[in-house]
């Protein structure tokens, strides 16, 4: 598959993310992920995923997809920079301009410049950002190669670091992929009627994390989707997803996807 080869370039890493707020599971718990590389990154991901021609973006479709992602992020109460909202309004503006009736070609006088495509600026920015990602990928390769080379120790090394796997996502699954997978699970989910007055299970993120770890100690890998089976409320599903994100951040689990859009697997970190 053509896109499969490009996938590692879009691999996101959960390094650098951090938890703010009270202890996991407590009210007000928030996960702050610095891994969203920004609105351009999300747009490029969506374009690549849908195999869309970057020079002819179906703006209505991409706007809907973009907003759907933002809603999921919002639902998860993840920290999301204001830049994402600026882009959302830009997309909606372009969409509105695209809907305006274009003057019939016969009315365009010769020599008069054709009206500019409202998407032009956006496409230019996306193309530029694509090159940024290309350059970053090239540097990443170089970094990986040279991380295997040790110079003589003479104080020019930074502090001793704990031994940790370099790439919790296995270089294959991006955070966008995870959110996408979570979205489709949520969409296919029919909430059971919650009887009023019945005590509902309020599992904390910590409890769910323990449950996932316990499950992985029985079988070394499970499908992402099966971690959600048996959950009866939307709230518990969100708790489960946040628990997965937190375990990735803590590098206790790894996420893998054998082929593009295939089933996402969760593995125990070594």
């Amino acid at each position: 598959m053509v896109l499969a080869k490009k996938q590692p370039v879009f691999a996101r890493r959960l390094r650098g993310s951090s938890i703010s707020g009270e202890e996991a599971g407590q009210p007000g718990y928030k996960v702050k992920l610095d891994v969203f590389e920004g609105p351009l990154d999300l747009l490029l991901y969506l374009i690549e995923r849908a195999e869309i021609d970057i020079y002819d973006i179906p703006i209505a479709y991409i706007t809907d997809e973009y907003l759907a992602y933002l809603r999921t992020i919002e639902l998860l109460d993840l920290y999301c920079a204001g830049d994402f909202l600026v882009m959302a309004s830009t997309l909606m503006q372009i969409k509105a301009r695209m809907l305006l009736p274009r003057p019939p070609e016969t009315l365009v006088e010769e020599g008069e410049e054709e009206e500019e495509d409202p998407r032009r600026e956006l496409v230019e920015r996306l193309l530029e950002y694509k090159k940024v990602k290309e350059a970053a990928a090239a540097l990443r390769e170089q970094e990986e190669k040279w991380s295997r080379v040790y110079y003589r120790t003479s104080g020019d090394f930074p502090d001793l670091e704990e031994d940790k796997p370099d790439d919790p996502l296995g270089g294959e699954v991006s955070l966008w992929d995870l959110i996408q997978a979570f979205r489709s699970i949520l969409e296919s989910f029919t909430p059971r009627l919650e009887v009023e007055g019945m005590p509902t299970e309020h599992e904390s993120i910590q409890e769910r994390m323990d449950a996932i770890i316990a499950r992985l100690s029985q079988s070394p890998r499970v499908y992402f989707s099966t971690l959600f089976s048996g959950l009866t409320t939307k709230k518990s599903m969100i708790t489960c997803f946040l628990a997965i994100l937190e375990l990735i951040r803590m590098q206790k689990i790894r996420v893998r996807q054998d082929r593009l859009f295939g089933e996402i697997e969760i593995l125990r970190a070594e």
């Binding site: 890493r13 920004g38 090159k131 940024v132 970053a136 170089q142 991380s147 080379v149 040790y150 670091e161």
Partner: protein, 185 residues
């Protein structure tokens, strides 16, 4: 002073320096021509390349330095006292890529290209010594210009900036930055 002695001195100099040693410095200390020093170094480099040796002399950041053979990295990682470096985050890497290819460049220019605020990645990169402030740009607010350092070259195993992996058409991007900046403001 015999041949093998001069060679030995060069080997000692490359080893003793904490920074990559420049050819000029080696030649100066030994009182020999730079091209003679280069020949001797090339010879030494080749010798270390043979027989699956554990160490090698690499040409990095404009100088020469000893480093381990990457083939043995997995064993070295098992050493108790070994400094480990965390890889850069994707955000920091993207910011660094822009600085590397477009230097000197301002914060606003980087933000225009990445579409997000880059305060924390710039701080990370400054702390790790991979970038530095390089004067100020003429114009409103006289913003700080950022450029890569010698440690940047060492970190990525580059001898100089011309060895950066080629990125298609990015040379023309200077104008693109300008136009994006205009959109932004």
């Amino acid at each position: 002073m015999g041949f093998s002695q001069v060679r030995g001195i060069i080997e000692a100099l490359v080893f003793a320096s904490s920074e990559p040693v420049r050819l000029r410095e080696i030649a100066g200390i030994l009182g020999i021509h730079e091209h003679t020093a280069r020949d001797l170094l090339d010879d030494l480099i080749n010798e270390y390349r043979q027989n699956q040796r554990g160490i090698q002399i690499t040409q990095v950041a404009g100088g020469y330095q000893f480093a381990t053979n990457p083939a043995y990295a997995d064993y070295i990682k098992k050493l108790k006292k070994i400094p480990r470096q965390t890889p850069l985050s994707q955000a920091a890497l993207e910011t660094l890529a822009i600085i590397a290819y477009k230097q000197p460049v301002t914060r606003a220019e980087i933000e225009a290209l990445r579409g997000v605020s880059v305060d924390s990645s710039i701080n990370t990169l400054l702390e790790r010594g991979l970038i530095e402030e390089k004067g100020r740009k003429d114009g409103p607010g006289r913003p700080i210009l950022y450029a890569t350092t010698g440690d940047f070259l060492k970190y990525f195993g580059l001898n100089d900036l011309s060895e950066l992996p080629p990125i298609e058409e990015w040379s023309a991007a200077g104008t693109a930055i300008e136009s994006i900046m205009n959109i932004e403001h």
